[in-house]
Symmetry: C2
Subunit: 246 residues, 2 copies
């Protein structure tokens, strides 16, 4: 006797399946068999596949709040909240930073989240609530609305904890010395920088790169810039349309 299906069970199964076997494994048919049910049964709980994906996003985003709570009592690495920042109140910074790092942890658990969120155009209440909270942090710290707007754009999808790793990974698939030789010859700059330190003898130390470090490096670079704009009370460029350097 099977438990009755409902929307939450469907979404949970979809998330589990995506976590285990990747997003491509999540088809209505496959998900149905996973639930011991015929494909069309799912449509009684989910409008269509898009709605399913939206639901999955909601589930994942719902976990971020829990993550934030979990890290608040955790070890707050000493000296993590003030650094290159100016002297004034930097509490928005820890708030934003914590929020985004929490999102990143969730996204690492659910690697499919990025691809789904990026193809989604529908903004569910959960998504809206998420951005609303983040925006609220800036505004509460006295950021003007235009500055907040630009700053959110500047952070871009990093607010979801995504690294933008279109770069990278030219290494990692190159144990073949001949292709490495060719790579360094054809793309010397790439080879030098790609995180693979090429030694004199041509061997490669594929130390890869520390994704977490890269993420925080970029995040802090942005937060530094943002703090600077905020400190100097940035305003939108006036009526001189050319040259809108922040």
């Amino acid at each position: 006797m099977r438990e009755r299906l409902n929307r939450d069970r469907v979404l949970a199964a979809a998330v589990a399946l995506a976590d285990a076997e990747g997003l491509d494994a999540v088809s209505m048919r496959r998900l149905a068999t996973e639930l011991g049910v015929v494909p069309m049964a799912l449509y009684k709980h989910v409008a269509d596949k898009d709605a399913l994906l939206d639901g999955m996003v909601d589930v994942a985003l719902g976990e971020v709040a829990g993550e934030i709570a979990a890290q608040d009592d955790g070890t707050g690495a000493p000296g993590d909240d003030l650094g290159a920042g100016d002297g004034n109140g930097d509490s928005w910074r820890t708030g934003v930073r914590g929020h985004i790092l929490a999102a990143r942890r969730v996204q690492l658990r659910h690697r499919w989240l990025r691809r789904v969120l990026e193809t989604r155009t529908a903004r569910t209440p959960v998504v809206l609530a998420y951005t609303d909270t983040l925006i609220g942090t800036f505004r509460a710290a006295g950021f003007s609305d235009p500055l907040t707007h630009h700053v959110m754009h500047a952070l871009g999808s990093r607010i979801w904890g995504f690294t933008q790793d279109l770069f990278e990974d030219a290494d990692q698939t190159a144990p073949d010395p001949a292709s490495v030789e060719l790579l360094t010859r054809q793309f010397p700059n790439l080879a030098a920088v790609a995180g693979a330190a090429v030694h004199d003898d041509g061997t490669v130390v594929a130390r890869g790169c520390d994704d977490q470090f890269e993420f925080e490096f970029a995040l802090d670079l942005l937060l530094d810039g943002i703090a600077r704009l905020h400190a100097q009370d940035w305003r939108p460029p006036g009526n001189t349309p050319a040259s809108h350097r922040p």
Copy 2:
């Protein structure tokens, strides 16, 4: 008598189709009929659909070089190359900025490029060459290899001219006053900042937002930060693993 097919004709048709009707319209079958040919004929010129997409990326990326040339003799907006930068040689900055803005123009012509590039794992020579050139610009300006590495990560997919607009667009679909009312009530911060200035009477001026401005704002924010790190001769954090604020 139809002209004989070849790889270039196939790729060109695919790009044209994607430009005109979106990426989803590009199926092997549809592309074949577009070329007046049976679906399987394409496989004589392209290994499979992934290879087709890779080829499309190469075509688009190939246009970036032309764009750079085009903008070099064009009107270089006065005072566009030095701004918040420090006094020292900032030529890398104009180079990088020009490169990225050129990529952005190409990406605006081929909106599918983002989605394709993001799902691609294979790095074609064209893609590698592209990043190699950009990396070369930094290294030529004296950026250390580690700094260059981090900086490329920080720029992330912005090097392809992508804006990360997961945020935004809560407006744009809200002429219905009731839903606007609900939106401002439920997500006040979002509503205030979303580029829609809510007036006293509740009407909304949906001025949207200037994507080009947002892109350059974010880009320059990053370039400012990068310039600062470069100027102060940033080095990787030593053996103190905690706190690696740039």
